[in-house]
Every structure is written in structure tokens, then in C-alpha cells.
């Protein structure tokens, strides 16, 4: 009896699956736009691919075109728990406001997954945006593969996909982000200068599988090898982006290497953890991070952390929106657009970011 009722309800659920199209009346029809040609599924390195610096892009392509009415951009970040993604979001929202002021009919919808482990949820967001038939998608996938089905579906429906760093989508036709390898190079150069070309350094790596972590470490190592033979990399280990684990690593290294001079960390969160260990030890060790988060700036101002490489997510977000409009406007872009980054230390920590990278508002076609 109860069992029968249960079956009836389950049946209803299944039925609603079938009836649903009647209600929705097949509102969405993917046939209006031609499918987007995706890139082949091959390893892709935005540092070395066909690319252009964003300033060069502006110079060669001119003002931002107006692709027409009802522009709906969907942006999917990793997790708003992380300051980086919140800053990126505010950059995109600034771009939205600027464009609206100019009379563009645009909405930028920025959403994120539930934490950096929510791969399926992030994909659901993309599906939802595709179902809503957005004009273009700006995606920062959690892993290199979790958004692939969403990208494929978007492409079939003619929705352009722009990969915003970090997290790589091999098949996405466009990528916006800094040269990750340059990150490491800037840090290496600064450390080598400060140490006068002699000394011992260590590297705290993020998640070893992450593209950004690999490239940052690679850039750091290869610059040192090529330009500072007197500097020895004595340790490198991953701390999986975790502040606590980075601190533990640093504590161990400080004890085992009494002559350690500097520690390069793949991001600021880990650098802050390392800095705590350095403070506790009372030793004079240079700590350099990457990302330029607020806490790192405060630490540099307080004379603790030595430097960070800021890739300016606030401006990156604006550039990403700009690139989306250029793609929608039919402009011919190279696959990669490199965004600005700069090393921040005590000398420029109080200088406005726009000044450091010499940021200029773009020109608008409207």
C-alpha cells in the first residue's frame, strides 16, 4: 500500500521530466548562433602560446566595440571565500558600471562554486548560464577538466568562452591572464639583487598539479639557473596553498638550514604563514609571495614580508570583460591576452596600483 504510493510519487517525478518541455515550450533554441570552433584538446601553455600584452591589444585593435543590445556576460570564479576571486569580481563589476555609464546594454553576472572542491557545482553554474543563453562566458575552472562539458555545450550553442586565469581550459579559444612564469622570474630577480647574487633560497610550492604553481616555480628556478649561479635552491616542497602547512615547512627549514636567506612562496597565503615562522625564529629571511592580497600589503608595510608579485585581479577582471566585448564585437584576437603584473616591495607598497602598471581607461566605441 505505502509502497504503491511511493511508486506513484516516483512516477510523478519521472513524468514531470517528460512533461517539462510542454511547460517550457522549448523556449531556448540553440540554432540562432553558429557553433563556436573550439581549440584541439592538447596541452596548452598560455605563457608560450600566441599572445599579446593587453596594452598592445588596445593599441592594435582600438576602442572597445559595442556588440549590440542585451549583452549578458557570465563569469564563474573558483570560490569567493578567497580574496583574490572577490577582487576579480569587483574588477568585473567596475567594468560593468563603466560600460553602462557609456550606454552599453550589459550585465555581468559573477558567481562562484562552493569552495575549491566543488567541481560539479561549478559545472552546474556553467550549465545554468548556458541554459540562460548568455552572450559569453568568462571561466576560471577549479581543475583543468571540470568545466569541459560546459564549455563544449556552450560552444555548440554558439556562446564564446574566455578562460580567465587561473585554471586552464585547453579547448577554450581565448585566455586572459598574466604570464605565470614571469611571476617567478620577477621574484627571482628581486631576491638575487637583494642577496647580491649569493645565498641559499627555498621554494614553497602550491598544489603541484596546478598550472600556476608549476609555472611560478619553473620561472623562479630557470631565472636563477640562468642569471644567478651563486644562489642555491636548497629546498622545495608543496604546501597545497595552505598557510598552516607552509608555516610548518618553514619551521623545519629554518632549523635545518641555519644560513637560509630567502623563501619564495607560490602565493601570499603561504608566504604569510612562512613569515610567521620567520618572525618566531627571529632570523632575517626574505619572504616573497605572489598574488598581492591585502594582508600581504599590510605585512610589507609593517616591514615583515619582503615582497609580493601582484597580478592585479581588479584590473584583470576589467580586462577580461573588455576581451569578451572585443570577441563579441568580432575582433580578431590572438589566443592569449597577457594582463599586467608587478613586484611590490617597501619602495612601492603605498603607490596606487593604477600608477604602478600605468593603467589607463580604455577607449569606447560608444
Amino acid at each position: 500500500m505505502k509502497r504503491t504510493m511511493c511508486m506513484v510519487v516516483i512516477g510523478l517525478v519521472v513524468l514531470s521530466l517528460g512533461v517539462a518541455p510542454v511547460f517550457s515550450g522549448g523556449a531556448r533554441d540553440g540554432g540562432t548562433r553558429p557553433a563556436i570552433q573550439l581549440m584541439p584538446d592538447e596541452p596548452f601553455n598560455p605563457d608560450t602560446a600566441d599572445g599579446v600584452d593587453f596594452m598592445d591589444m588596445r593599441r592594435s585593435l582600438g576602442p572597445i566595440p559595442d556588440p549590440g543590445a542585451n549583452i549578458r556576460l557570465g563569469a564563474v570564479a573558483k570560490a569567493f571565500e578567497n580574496e583574490y576571486w572577490r577582487t576579480l569580481r569587483s574588477g568585473m563589476q567596475t567594468a560593468e558600471t563603466n560600460l553602462k555609464d557609456r550606454g552599453y546594454d550589459i550585465i555581468v553576472d559573477v558567481r562562484s562554486a562552493l569552495g575549491e572542491g566543488d567541481e560539479q557545482g561549478q559545472l552546474s553554474i556553467v550549465f545554468d548560464m548556458v541554459n540562460r543563453d548568455y552572450s559569453a562566458l568568462l571561466l576560471s575552472p577549479i581543475t583543468d577538466s571540470n568545466l569541459i562539458p560546459g564549455v563544449e555545450r556552450a560552444a555548440r550553442q554558439g556562446i564564446p568562452v574566455i578562460n580567465v586565469n587561473d585554471g586552464l581550459i585547453n579547448i577554450a579559444p581565448n585566455f586572459v591572464g598574466p604570464r605565470a612564469v614571469q611571476n617567478g622570474e620577477l621574484a627571482a630577480e628581486w631576491i638575487a639583487n637583494r642577496l647580491g647574487g649569493q645565498g641559499k633560497v627555498a621554494i614553497v610550492i602550491g598544489m603541484p598539479t596546478a598550472f600556476a604553481a608549476r609555472q611560478r616555480t619553473l620561472g623562479f628556478e630557470s631565472w636563477m639557473r640562468a642569471n644567478a649561479p651563486g644562489i642555491q635552491i636548497v629546498e622545495q616542497q608543496n604546501a597545497d596553498w595552505s598557510r598552516a602547512r607552509a608555516r610548518e615547512l618553514a619551521e623545519i627549514w629554518i632549523n635545518t638550514h641555519p644560513d637560509l636567506n630567502a623563501i619564495f612562496c607560490n602565493n601570499d597565503t603561504m608566504a604569510l604563514g612562512v613569515q610567521e615562522a620567520v618572525n618566531a625564529s627571529g632570523r632575517d629571511i626574505l619572504v616573497v609571495g605572489v598574488d598581492g592580497i591585502g594582508e600581504a600589503y599590510d605585512s610589507i608595510r609593517a616591514g615583515e614580508m619582503a615582497a609580493t608579485i601582484d597580478s592585479f585581479p581588479y584590473f584583470k577582471g576589467q580586462i577580461a570583460v573588455e576581451v569578451a566585448l572585443r570577441v563579441l564585437g568580432g575582433q580578431d584576437l590572438p589566443r592569449v591576452v597577457w594582463t599586467p603584473q608587478a613586484l611590490i616591495d617597501s619602495s612601492n607598497v603605498n603607490v596606487a596600483a593604477a600608477e604602478i602598471i600605468n593603467w589607463q581607461e580604455p577607449d569606447f566605441a560608444r
Partner: protein
């Protein structure tokens, strides 16, 4: 009238599911478009398979925390095999064998070495994860051949992918195992009272090892579904998936104390979580609030279980008092 304890539960979740779908559809009609509904079902396949497997271990009064890692080992090993020219179906078979083997290892640790399931599988969770990293050097396995992807991601009827049918087939097998075989009867008995079951001459150890092996198969199937779906396999895949699977089983009425649980319930639980997740996204809820909403649904579902217990207790007490 028959007293079937679990039926009320399943009825309850079904109603909750229908109500939820109605509410989300009201908020945003996009939600009940065919495409979106298929997404909901498709997104529940991975968790559904993991949850069905873990339900077996939970019914025995145990737990398998290593499913997410088993999942990753299967993803990377099958991925490496099929990209190196192994025929897809052979890859699937090997994947199932790997899952089964890892599950059996868990089972043996628990029965032969007398480890507590929580600790044993907590340890193996880390071991298997490490195996996945070591096998790949941390790099994802990319460019999975189309033929393999079609096995799970191909479309059969309309837009419905193969994986949905795989889940249904797996669920039916699991249901039959639980309800129509000795193995299933023993699982419930062990969860209800292991000592009494042992004293009834049941081979408790072997039954438990089977349960963990079956759980491993669930993880393997889920892994291969994801592998086909994404076209590449990450050694980091499936981190924290065990918790989601446990949540699905628990929402579906499986008691973590053992002895109770059904496949229908677990499946509905997985479907409910997936429908909720997609619904919150479609409704455009802020991601921070989504955490709160998801957690509340799990807690409320658990509370329904408590209420139900109480009702059942009152109902069944009566005939004894007044014979």
C-alpha cells in the same frame, strides 16, 4: 497493513523532491526545462554511484571514507590505459576490478586486522590518494579517446546520457542484492546486531569484505562516468566526495548506526542533493548562502528521520501492550 519501515521515508523524500522542484520552478521556470532536469539527473550519477556503494558499508554499521580516493585511482588508471590504446570496454572491466580490489583491501583490514572501519578507511583514503598522485606524477591524464567517452557520456534517448542508465542499472543490481539475496539479508543483520548474526552461523567477515568490495565497485563506476564526462582525469578528483555520498545516504534514510537503509532512499537522497544544488544556482542564490541552505536541508532531513522513529515506535508498541 504491512509495516514497511523504509517506505514512509522514501515517500517523504519523494514528496520533498516534488515540492522542491515546484518551488524552484516557480522561482525560475528555466529549472524545469528538459535540459536542466537532465542536468540534475546527470549530476547525481557520480554521487549516486558513490552513495549506493557507501550505503552497503553503512548498512553493516561501518563506513568507507576512501571512496573519493578509490574513485581517483580508477580515474587515473583507466585514463592511462585507454589513452594508451586499451579498448574502452576492457578499460571499464579493469576499472571495476581495481575498484573491487581496493574495496576488498579495506574489507580485509576491517575484518582480518580488526581495525575500526572509520580509521581503516581514513588511512586508506590517504594511501589511495597518494597512489593516484604517484601514478600520474600529479599531472592530469588528458585526451581520453572519444570511444571511451561515448561509453558514459554518449546520448542514448534524446539528450539523456548513458551514465544515467548506468546508474539505474547499478541501482537495480544493488537493490536486488540487498533485498533478494542472502548477502543482502546478512548485511542488514550484521548492522542490526553483529554478535547475534555471528552466533547464527553467518560468515560475518566474508559478508563484510563483499560489502566493501561492492562499495569499491561503486566508486570505480562513478570514476569512469566522470572520466568519460570530462575527457580527462585528475588525480585530485573526488576529494570530499565521500562526505557528499554519506550525506546522500543519510538523507535517504540510511542509519549511520547500521542495520537500516535502502537503495531507493539513497538514490532519492542523491537526486535531492543534486536538485537542490542546481536549484540554488538557477535561483541565483549567493554562493555563501548556498552553504547554509544545503546544510540546513541535510539537518532537516535527519530530523525527519528522528520524528519518524518516534511515530514508528508508538505505532508498533501498541499490539504488544494490548495483545
Amino acid at each position: 497493513m504491512k509495516v514497511r519501515l523504509d517506505t514512509y521515508r522514501e515517500l517523504g523524500i519523494s514528496i520533498a523532491l516534488v515540492v522542491m522542484i515546484g518551488v524552484f520552478a516557480f522561482i525560475n521556470p528555466v529549472y524545469i526545462r528538459t535540459n536542466n532536469l537532465i542536468d540534475i539527473v546527470q549530476q547525481s550519477t557520480v554521487n549516486g554511484m558513490l552513495a549506493i556503494g557507501i550505503t552497503f558499508t553503512i548498512i553493516t554499521g561501518g563506513i568507507d571514507l576512501s571512496v573519493g580516493s578509490t574513485f581517483a585511482v580508477v580515474i587515473v588508471s583507466v585514463g592511462m590505459l585507454v589513452t594508451n590504446g586499451v579498448p574502452p570496454l576492457v578499460g571499464v572491466a579493469i576499472g571495476i576490478i581495481i575498484g573491487l580490489t581496493l574495496g576488498i583491501v579495506n574489507g580485509l583490514l576491517i575484518t582480518k586486522m580488526k581495525l575500526q572501519p572509520f580509521i581503516a578507511t581514513l588511512g586508506m583514503m590517504s594511501v589511495y590518494r597518494g597512489v593516484a598522485y604517484v601514478m600520474t606524477g600529479g599531472w592530469p591524464v588528458v585526451r581520453i579517446p572519444r570511444e571511451f567517452r561515448d561509453l558514459t557520456d554518449g546520448r542514448v534517448i534524446g539528450e539523456i546520457p548513458v551514465s544515467v542508465f548506468s546508474l539505474i542499472a547499478f541501482a537495480i543490481i544493488a537493490h536486488v542484492l540487498l533485498n533478494r539475496t542472502r548477502f543482502g539479508a546478512y548485511l542488514y543483520a550484521i548492522g542490526g546486531n553483529e554478535q547475534a548474526t555471528r552466533l547464527s552461523g553467518v560468515n560475518v567477515d566474508r559478508t563484510k569484505v563483499f560489502a566493501y568490495g561492492f562499495c569499491g565497485i561503486g566508486a570505480a563506476l562513478a570514476g569512469m562516468v566522470l572520466l568519460g564526462r570530462l575527457g580527462s582525469g585528475e588525480p585530485t578528483a573526488g576529494i570530499t566526495y565521500e562526505l557528499l555520498a554519506i550525506a546522500a545516504a543519510a538523507v535517504g534514510g540510511t542509519s549511520l548506526a547500521g542495520g537500516k537503509g535502502t537503495i531507493t532512499g539513497t538514490l532519492l537522497g542523491a537526486l535531492l542533493l543534486s536538485a537542490l544544488r542546481v536549484g540554488l544556482i538557477v535561483a541565483g542564490m549567493d554562493s555563501f548562502w548556498q552553504f547554509i541552505a544545503t546544510g540546513l536541508v541535510i539537518v532537516v532531513a535527519a530530523y525527519f528521520e528522528v520524528i519518524q522513529q518516534r511515530l514508528r515506535f508508538q505505532r508498533n508498541k501498541k499490539p504488544v501492550v494490548t495483545p
